[in-house]
Amino acid sequence: MNALEYPGHDLIIAETAPGTKVLDLGCGDGKLLDRLREQKQVTPYGVEITEAGVWKCVEKGLYCYQGDIDEGLSDYKENSFDYVILNQTLQITKRPAYVIREMMRISRNAIVSFPNFGYFKTRLQLMIKGRMPVNILLPFEWYETPNIHHLTIRDFRDFCEKNGYPVKKERHFSITYRGETRISSFHPNMFAQYGFFILNGEGFAE
């Protein structure tokens, strides 16, 4: 398993309780859901915008909906899922605040992971070169990036506080040269490549 290609997967799997019900928003080819089903016997569901991704999910026998991730979240009842996952997708969603609010409503645990724009190499690229950062976390030129809502770990913490979303756990991480996932607890906003939050959605059933 290449952690670089699928950042966050190992951590999410480690954090997921067995036999639970999981919804992955932006599930791509269903790799994560497939592993969760295999290793944690979860009941997996997915949402994915691309045809190619959804068809891969059909191939894997994963129940997946082709559409925008914010489309149809309102269909679900309160606490329908044990976990709703938004992995490396927050920065490309059109309405991040709405998506997180809906995640809080429909799940007991909202898992959110995203590339940390506060990572020191990203900061340095902007500060020293004076150019939009292009690196392993953000591998796109400004004119072709799908990322429309960049954020840092600190930004997300503030966002949760402001909205009253209880943070259950923070497991910010980086991918090592050897392709392994390593937790960065020392000044994560500066040294973690990815932010990783688990929010408690239990009390958010409206």
Partner: protein, 384 residues
């Protein structure tokens, strides 16, 4: 004219026969009972010992029980879904037992308005009871009992066939493991009803229609042909028509000073219309289009959510981006109702220019998804 026979190869189910099941009586949703009632059907492949590999195919407006293979070695064309049914095809007859029946009210072997009314000795015509999608499903249910099938691996259909498939899962949840609903809807749009009505009016305004009593004389061919032409416009997208025909003429060198110079698209529609009157009954067209128009899950169950509350089947729902007769949002409505009820559903909105009729064409993404879905569902059931 000499016909070129179709190709019977290792991917074809080969020569097949339509069989007929006669049941003593059948009560329609309207309350009327007919007896006896005939249902024309075909089967392909073999029912396994556990009887868990049966798939029912539900046809659309103009379909028949003849879904695959050939009736004779001289047939120019195979059954209507032959591209999808056969050894190694998505509905793999090497693995599954496939059943397709002509709908009740139809005109290809099942009892319908052109059948003889035993009470009068004459064809029913407009005396035939109104037909609903539920009636079609109930008739198929009789067939399954006859075949000794208690639970279907899947029920699949496009357009009106999709309506039947969904209705099956709602009415007989314990009998359906999975549903493949393609280019369909929980209720036809006002635009769809309008177009169906224009077709019906074309038939009814043909003097030969004679209030449905035309079986002893020349039928309303002009009206039926016109109805079919309208139908064919709705099955294609603007773009597909443009690509298929453009503004090309059938014969390029004719002067434009007469009405006789035909555009290719005109010629195509005439051909479709003329071909249709040879195989379809005008009264059946009226009854079946009305069944489609009256189909309304929201109305029947109070809400979409309620409609799907007791469903147990897993769903594969497929729509086509250029389908304006059964637009994608109508498929999404079905999917959303299923999701809200916590049901298992896969949904893909396939990008294509080919419009509503895509499900009848040789289209790889459709083949692949059906095939993969069935494979997974069959695996799941085999483990049970």
């Amino acid at each position: 004219m000499e016909k070129t026979p179709g190709v019977i190869n290792e991917r074809s189910v080969g020569l097949v026969n339509t069989r007929h099941l006669i049941f003593e009586k059948f009560t329609f949703r309207s309350g009327r009972t007919l007896s006896p009632v005939t249902l024309a059907y075909e089967t392909y492949g073999t029912l396994n010992r556990r009887k868990n590999n049966a798939i029912l195919i539900a046809h659309a407006l103009s379909g028949s029980a003849h879904a695959a293979g050939y009736h004779s070695p001289h047939d120019a064309h195979p059954g209507w879904w032959d591209i999808y049914i056969g050894p190694g095809k998505p509905f793999d007859t090497g693995q599954y037992f496939i059943i397709c029946a002509n709908v009740i009210g139809g005109c290809s072997g099942s009892t319908g308005p052109s059948s003889i009314n035993p009470e009068t000795g004459k064809p029913f015509g407009l005396d035939f009871p109104m037909v609903t999608i539920q009636d079609m499903v109930n008739a198929q249910m009789h067939l399954l009992s006859h075949l000794g099938i208690e639970k279907l691996l899947s029920i699949a259909g496009g357009s009106m066939g999709g309506m039947q498939a969904i209705k099956w899962a709602i009415v007989y949840p314990e009998m359906v493991n999975s549903v493949i609903a393609i280019a369909t809807s929980a209720s036809l749009s006002a635009q769809g009803i309008a177009l169906n009505e224009v077709g019906r009016q074309a038939i009814m305004n043909d003097p030969n229609w004679n209030h449905g009593d035309y079986y002893d004389s020349k039928g309303p061919d002009a009206g039926l042909s016109l109805a079919r032409m309208i139908g064919h416009i709705t099955y294609l997208s603007d773009r597909h028509m443009h690509e298929k025909f453009g503004r090309r003429f059938q014969k390029e060198d004719l002067p434009l000073s007469t009405f006789k110079n035909e555009f290719m698209v005109e010629s195509y529609l005439h051909h479709q219309g003329n071909k249709f009157v040879d195989r379809f009954d005008a009264n059946s067209y009226l009854y079946i289009t009305k069944a489609i128009d009256y189909f309304d899950l929201k109305k029947d169950y109070g809400s979409m959510h309620e409609a799907f509350a007791n469903v147990t089947a897993n769903f594969l729902v497929i729509s086509f981006t250029s389908d304006w007769l059964y637009p994608s949002f109508q498929s999404k409505e079905i999917v959303q109702a299923l999701r809200a009820n916590g049901k298992n559903v896969m949904y893909t909105d396939i990008e294509t220019d080919m419009g509503h009729d895509t499900f009848l064409l040789d289209y790889e993404p459709l083949k692949k998804n059906i095939s993969n879905f069935l494979k997974r569902e069959f695996e799941r059931i085999s483990k049970e």
